[in-house]
């Protein structure tokens, strides 16, 4: 017996919601392949552990990392494995709702829905991530008021204004928390002469990264490989320099929020002042980011209680009310 599914196909994390059950899967969007044969060796947590640590014949990739589908074949295989793991087969044929970055092209959308159908879905439909995020963040999007969500993921940042169940203004950029990791990697290499992997850079970001000065900041020891000697080496990073290192990325994210505010009709933009904007997505957890956005926009920012799960919970709501909400699927409107 098939239970319908909602999938948050994030650039960093994939979550699956099963109708009537709740979240049944939550893991990194990573796949490890044998470079020679192309066989899948691992997915999810297991593949994530391999990033930056594989021998030459294995490659661990994030097929959606840039918020675009760069490799259709790998993405398709990831979707198929994912559906298999939650029990989908040609015989069960559930309905599937998938959240994708709103910036993906028509061709990429088709690739995702086709992959889900080929993997056994009876029907596959897409919804925009910020729309799902707004439902998951429990915003009153059924009312004629301006609801604003900012979803900062690994490879994308999407800001949307939603009213009466529809998107009024949308601003999506292919910049996100992965770019912060990359900026830290580049900085440590340039200024301290050591090479660190992307997972170490992510740990630095979570440990001491910030978008605005915050109380109680600490230094951190970072271990990597000395570029001159090739030997392991430890350096100390302070929060100021990390803030400096990631400034370009942070300001690009804030600029996209400001562009979305500017696109909103005036009647709705009044609402933001009283209702605030809601921050979701793992990237939104960066220290001081909510404060930074508030400081630059003069609009209050509220953090969702479930930043990492909001999108899949919202999509789960759509799968629970499939018939009533099918008008919200991408392609159904406009």
């Amino acid at each position: 017996m098939a239970r319908d599914l909602a999938i948050d196909l994030g650039t960093a994390n994939t979550l699956v919601y099963m109708k009537g059950r709740g979240i049944v899967l939550n893991e990194p969007s990573v796949i490890a392949l044998n470079r020679q044969t192309g066989e899948v060796l691992a997915t999810g947590h297991e593949a994530w552990q391999m990033i930056g640590r594989t021998p030459g014949y294995i490659v661990a990739v994030r097929p959606l990392r840039g918020g675009a589908i760069t490799d259709f074949e790998i993405t398709e295989r990831m979707i198929r494995l994912l559906l298999q793991r939650v029990g989908v087969s040609r015989f069960t044929r559930p309905k599937v709702v998938i959240c994708v970055p709103s910036a993906i092209t028509e061709v990429e959308r088709r690739a995702v829905t086709d992959a889900a159908r080929r993997a056994g879905a009876a029907d596959a439909n897409l919804i925009e991530q910020p729309m799902a995020a707004a439902i998951g963040a429990d915003l009153p999007i059924d009312e004629p008021v301006g609801n604003m969500v900012i979803d900062i993921g690994g490879g994308t940042s999407e800001t949307a204004v939603i009213s009466l169940g529809g998107i009024v203004a949308l601003e999506a950029v292919r910049v996100g928390s992965f770019d912060i990791d990359a900026a830290i990697q580049g900085y440590v290499r340039r200024e301290h002469g050591i090479a660190v992997g992307e997972r170490t850079a992510e740990e630095i970001k979570m440990a001491i990264g910030s978008a605005d000065p915050t109380p109680g900041e600490q230094q951190a020891e970072v271990r990597g490989r000395d570029l001159m000697t090739g030997l392991p080496k430890t350096v100390v990073l302070n929060p100021d320099e990390v803030r400096y290192a990631i400034e370009d990325v942070v300001s690009a994210i804030v600029a996209s929020v400001i562009r979305c505010l500017a696109k909103a009709p005036p009647e709705l933009s009044q609402d933001f002042l009283t209702r605030g904007m809601y921050l979701v997505g793992g990237g939104g957890l960066l220290r001081g980011l909510a404060h930074r956005i508030e400081r630059e926009t003069h609009v209050p920012v509220k953090m969702s209680k479930v930043p990492l799960e909001a999108v899949v919970l919202g999509a789960g709501h759509v799968i629970e009310h499939y018939d009533a909400l099918k008008g919200m699927f991408m392609g159904a409107r406009r």
């Binding site: 169940g165 740990e203 479930v306 009533a324």
Partner: protein, 76 residues
Amino acid sequence: MNVAILVAIAVVLILAIVVLARRSRPDAVSDFHRQINALSAESRRPVVDQVHKFEEQTDQPVEPDQPEDAERPDGS
């Protein structure tokens, strides 16, 4: 007599066609209301309940994304 039966059949057929046409024509107003109702605070409540469940769960340390300390030095 026969004519009456034919007329009755014709009337039934016409009624059936009218009803079917009504049903298959998308009624935008009621669809819209159905959609808005499905997004209301009341129908969102199960989602919110899930959120609360999460808050309770995350009181215990369930951090799958947190690698062990020993893994810190990334030799790449």
